[in-house]
Amino acid sequence: MSATTRVIGEVLLKVEGINLSFGGVRALSEVSFDIRKGEIRAIIGPNGAGKSSMLNCINGFYHPQQGSITYKGQPRRQMRPHEAAAQGIARTFQNIALFRGMSTLDNIMTGRLLKMKQNFLMQALYWGPAQREEIAHREHVEKIIDFLEIQAIRKVPVGRLPYGLQKRVELGRALAAEPELLLLDEPMAGMNVEEKEDMCRFVLDVNEEFGTTIALIEHDMGVVMDISDRVVVLDYGRKIADGTPDEVRADQNVIDAYLGVAH
C-alpha cells in the first residue's frame, strides 16, 4: 500500500567466522553475515540452531573463541554488555527480564540509566540539575509510552501485566536507551495472533519512525518473512542461507531444515 522510501545504509555490524563452543558443544561454527544501517534483519532457525547464542555474541554476553565482530567500523573480539549498551546496542530477552515489582514507567525509566549524568546524591535529593534531568528523561519515556500505546498501564507493576504487554514494556525499555541497533530475542514468542500483529506493527514503526536498525530472532517463519528486509537462517550452529525473504523461502536447505529431510 505504501511506497517504501526507507534508506538502507552502509554496513553497521559485521560478524565474520564466528566459532562458539561450550565445552564440547559447538553452538556456532563459521557464521558470517552483516547488518546494514536502517534495515530489519532477521535471524531464524529451528530450536537450538544457535540464534540466541549469536545475539549474545553481538551484545557481549558470550565471547566467541574465534572470529571477529566489527561494529561501526571498529573490530572487536571481547566486549562487555555495558560497553555494547554504551555504544548504542539495546536488546530484549526471550524470557522477559523486567523488574516485576516496579511499574511500567519505572521499568522504562531504567532504560535511560546510561543517559543520566547527575550523581547519586543529587538524584537522591532531586534537586536542581538532577530534577531538570529527570524531567527531560521522563518526557522521553512518555513519548515511548505514547508510541507503544501503553498509557493505561503506566503505573501498574509489571508483574501484574499479561505476557504480551510485558513484552511491549521490555521493548519500551530497550527503546528508552535510544539504540542504534536493537536486538530483539523472539519478540513474538508465546503471543496470540493479534498480539503478534501488534508487535509487528511496533517493530516496523520503530524502524520507520526512529530509523533504528533491528536484528530480530524468531522461529516462526511466517511473521518474520513479512517484516524483514533480509534473513539469515541458522541450523545446528551453521549458516545455511542468507538473503531476502523470497530467496530464503525458496532455498532447498531451508526447506529441509524446517520440514526435515529423509536421510
Binding site: 500500500m1 505504501s2 511506497a3 517504501t4 522510501t5 526507507r6 521522563r138 518526557e139 512518555e142 513519548k143 509510552i145 505514547d146 508510541f147 500505546e149 498509557q151 493505561a152 503506566r154 503505573k155 493479534e194 500483529e197 506493527r201 516496523l204 514503526d205 520507520e208 519512525e209
Partner: protein, 662 residues
C-alpha cells in the same frame, strides 16, 4: 477569572450557531479553560481564545482545500480537542460535520461515508486512515483525508493525504491572505441551517443520518443547562463516541453554550484514571458503566479486611436510609444527619475520591434502565445522579428528572418545551424544539418516524404514573404476548436479570411461545471473583460459563426474578421457565449488539436459532457453532455444547393476591 456570566440566561438571538458562540466565548471567557487533553502523561489545556485560534486555522485550511457550504465532512477518532475544533471549523464554513463511530468495522463506516456524500475526512491516526483509504478505493468521492497523528504515515504516498499540522499551517496562510474570512463566513450561518448529521447505530437495517439544525441543538442545550443549573465553572469528561448524540450535546453543544471545560482522556483504556484526575462536576455514563463501577467496588470490598467491610456495610446501610432523603432536601433527624456526616468522613468521601466523583454535581444516565439498587447506591452517596430519556431524533432531551423528585423506575417529567402524548398502541410520541429536520436521503424513514405536524414516534412503550412521571417498559415493537395471551415485555424481564451483578446481558424470548426462556451472559469480573472465592478454577470465559456451579448461581438469580414477576399483576405469567448461559459474550463486532451496546434481538434470534429451538424443545443440552469477527475483520469459529436448565416458577402472588383479599 472572568466575572461575566451569561450562561443559563436566554439566548441572544444573534448568537444562533456554534461558531458564533465560540467567538462570544473567546470574548467573555477568554483565558478560561475550554478544553483539556492528557498527552504524554500531562494534562494540556487550551483556553477559549486558543480554541478559537485553532478553529480559525483549521477552518482556513479547510477553506483552502475547497470545502464549501453544504459539503459533508467526516470525523473519525476518539474524543480529541482537534476533532471538536474540526466540527466547529466545518460549521463556521457552513459545511456539515458527520462524526463517525471510530470503532465500527470497515463496512459500516463505508456505508456512512458513502451515504453522507463525504468529500473530506479528518481522522485521528494511521489505523483510521487505513480504513478510510480502503473506503476511498470504493467511493472515490472522498478526495481528502486529514490525519492528526503523523506516526506511521511518513511513507504513505497516496494523493490527498494531509497532516493536520500542515492543514493548520495552510490555514494560517489562508487567513493572512484573506483577513476576516472567518468572521465573514461565520456571519453567513443562521439558526435554521443544518448543524450536524448524526448516524443512528440502528437496531435494525442500515444506519440513518439524522439532520439536526442549530436551532434544534442550541435550544435543547440551553433548556437543559437551565433545568440542571450548569455554569461555566463545570467540567465534563468526554469519553463516549463523538458520533453519539449524547456526546455531541453534552461535550460540544452544552460546553459552547454554558462555557464549561471539556476534558479528553488519554486513551479509551485510561478513562477511569483520567476520571479520577479530572474529577468532573458533570458526568454522563450509560447504566452499564455505573454498574461496572459498583461491581468493582463490591469486589474490592469483598476482598477487604473485616473492619473495613463492616464499616462499609454499616455506613452504606445508613446512606440508603438517610442519604437519598438528605439529597432530596427532605426532613431528616439530627442523629441521622450526624451519622451521615460521620460516614462522609469515613466512607463516602474516600469512596467518591477513589471513583473520581468527589466533585460530581450532576450525573446523567440513559440508554437503558438502571437497576434501582445501583441508582440508589450513587444517590445515597450524595451524588445527584439522574435518569434521562431521549433519542437522537429529538436532540436527546425528552424527559428529565427535576431535583428532589427522582424515582428509580421512571424517567421523570417532560423536559422544558417538550410535549409528550401516549398513542393508543402505548407508544410514546414527542414534539419539541429539538425534533430533527429529516433523515438524510431517506424520506420513507422520515415519514415513518415524524408526522407532518412534528410529532416523533419514539418506538418506546410507556405510560405516565400518578405524579406525571413517564415510565418506559420496552420497545413498542418488542412487547409481545405468550400463547395464552399474557403480556410479554422482554426488556422488562432482561433488565430485572441484569440488575444482578453476575449477569451482564440477557435476552428473553416468549412472544407466541408457551413460556418465557432466556439466554444469559455472565459478567466475567463478578462471576470470576465469585468463582475464585469458591475455589472454582477456569481458563476461559467459555469454560467458566459452562460450570455447573455457575449455573446454580444464575439459577438462583433467575428464580429471584420469577418471585419478583409473580407480584406484578400484568406480567406474573411471564416468568422464566428455561434458560441457558451463552458460551460467548455478545459483541458489537459480531453484530449482536449495536455500537451503543444494545442487544439486536432479531439478529441474535437468527444467529442462535438452534439454541432457541432447544430451549422450547425440552432438550437438556444444545450444540452451537458460531462465527466470530475480530476487530480487523478476520473471522474465527467457536463451538460449544450448552446445558439448559429449568427454573422454578412461582404462582402469582403479591398485588393480585392482595387485591383479591381486600
Amino acid at each position: 477569572m472572568n466575572n461575566a456570566k451569561p450562561a443559563g440566561g436566554r439566548r441572544d438571538s444573534r448568537v444562533d450557531t456554534f461558531p458564533k458562540l465560540l467567538l462570544r466565548n473567546a470574548d467573555i471567557f477568554a483565558g478560561r479553560p475550554a478544553v483539556r487533553e492528557k498527552d504524554y502523561g500531562i494534562w494540556q489545556t487550551w483556553s477559549w481564545t486558543e480554541s478559537l485560534a485553532n478553529v480559525r486555522e483549521i477552518a482556513g485550511g479547510l477553506a483552502a482545500l475547497g470545502l464549501s457550504r453544504g459539503d459533508k465532512i467526516a470525523l473519525v477518532g476518539d474524543n480529541r480537542p482537534h476533532l471538536y475544533w474540526s466540527i466547529c471549523a466545518a460549521q463556521s464554513l457552513g459545511a456539515i460535520p458527520v462524526p463517525v463511530y471510530q470503532d465500527s468495522v470497515a463496512d459500516e463506516m463505508s456505508f456512512v461515508i458513502d451515504h453522507a456524500e463525504v468529500r473530506i475526512a479528518i481522522a485521528e491516526d494511521q489505523e483510521q486512515v487505513d480504513k478510510l483509504l480502503q473506503i476511498r478505493a470504493k467511493h472515490p468521492r472522498l478526495a481528502t483525508i486529514i490525519y492528526k497523528d503523523p506516526r506511521g504515515m511518513r511513507h504513505y504516498a497516496e494523493p490527498g493525504l494531509v497532516g493536520l499540522a500542515e492543514l493548520q499551517a495552510r490555514g494560517s496562510e489562508y487567513a493572512a491572505a484573506n483577513p476576516e474570512f472567518f468572521e465573514i463566513e461565520v456571519a453567513k450561518g443562521k439558526g435554521s441551517d443544518v448543524s450536524v448529521m448524526l448516524y443512528t447505530s440502528g437496531t435494525t437495517g442500515q444506519p440513518k443520518g439524522v439532520m439536526l439544525s442549530y436551532d434544534n441543538v442550541l435550544v435543547t442545550a440551553e433548556n437543559a443547562i437551565e433545568f440542571d443549573h450548569l455554569t461555566d465553572q463545570d467540567e465534563i469528561l468526554a469519553y463516549l463516541p463523538m458520533a453519539w448524540v449524547g456526546d455531541h450535546i453534552f461535550s460540544y453543544a452544552e460546553s459552547y453554550v454554558a462555557g464549561f471545560c471539556v476534558a479528553c482522556p488519554e486513551s479509551g483504556a485510561t478513562v477511569m484514571t483520567d476520571l479520577k484526575e479530572i474529577g468532573p462536576t458533570f458526568f454522563f455514563a450509560p447504566p452499564r458503566i455505573f454498574e461496572n463501577i459498583l461491581t468493582q467496588v463490591s469486589i474490592r470490598m469483598d476482598d477487604a479486611g473485616w473492619i473495613k467491610r463492616k464499616m462499609f456495610q454499616f455506613f452504606m446501610t445508613h446512606a440508603r436510609r438517610a442519604g437519598i432523603a438528605i439529597l432530596d432536601g427532605k426532613r431528616v433527624s439530627l442523629v441521622d444527619r450526624f451519622l451521615y456526616w460521620l460516614g462522609g468522613i469515613l466512607v463516602y468521601g474516600p469512596l467518591k475520591n477513589v471513583l473520581g466523583l468527589t466533585r460530581m454535581r450532576l450525573g446523567y444516565t440513559a440508554g437503558e434502565a438502571i437497576g434501582p439498587d445501583i441508582f440508589d447506591f450513587y444517590r445515597s452517596l450524595g451524588l445527584n445522579l439522574k435518569q434521562l430519556y431521549g433519542m437522537t431524533e429529538t436532540s436527546v432531551f425528552i424527559c428529565m428528572q427535576p431535583d428532589g423528585q427522582i424515582k428509580p423506575d421512571t424517567v421523570g417529567i417532560a423536559a422544558p418545551d417538550v410535549e409528550i402524548k401516549i398513542a393508543d398502541s402505548g407508544e410514546v410520541l414527542v414534539k419539541s424544539p429539538g425534533v430533527f429536520l429529516n433523515y438524510f436521503k431517506n424520506d420513507k424513514a422520515t415519514a415513518e418516524t415524524k408526522t407532518p405536524d412534528g410529532w416523533v414516534h419514539t418506538g418506546d412503550a410507556g405510560f405516565f404514573d400518578h405524579d406525571g412521571h413517564l415510565k418506559i417498559i420496552d420497545r413498542a415493537k418488542d412487547v409481545g404476548r405468550l400463547k395464552d395471551g399474557t403480556l410479554f415485555a422482554p426488556k422488562y424481564i432482561e433488565n430485572k436479570l441484569k440488575f444482578f451483578s453476575y449477569i451482564k446481558e440477557a435476552v428473553a424470548f416468549g412472544d407466541k411461545h408457551d413460556h418465557v426462556a432466556t439466554f444469559i451472559n455472565i459478567d466475567l469480573d463478578a462471576v470470576g471473583n465469585w468463582a475464585e472465592r469458591q475455589g472454582i478454577s477456569y481458563a476461559s470465559y467459555q469454560e467458566l460459563a459452562a460450570k455447573p456451579e455457575v449455573y446454580e448461581l444464575i439459577q438462583s438469580c433467575v428464580e429471584q426474578v420469577n418471585r419478583d414477576l409473580a407480584t406484578d399483576e400484568k406480567l406474573a405469567a411471564s416468568q422464566i421457565k428455561r434458560f441457558l448461559i451463552l458460551h460467548k459474550e455478545l459483541d458489537a463486532d459480531d453484530g449482536e449488539l449495536t455500537r451503543t451496546r444494545k442487544v439486536r434481538r432479531s439478529f441474535v434470534g437468527q444467529r442462535f436459532a438452534s439454541l432457541i429451538e432447544a430451549l422450547y424443545s425440552g432438550a437438556a443440552r444444545a450444540h452451537i457453532s458460531t462465527e466470530v469477527t475480530f476487530e480487523d475483520g478476520r473471522k474465527g469459529k467457536i463451538e460449544a455444547d450448552l446445558a439448559i436448565r429449568e427454573a422454578r416458577c412461582v404462582p402469582p402472588t403479591g398485588a393480585t393476591a392482595l387485591k383479591k383479599a381486600s
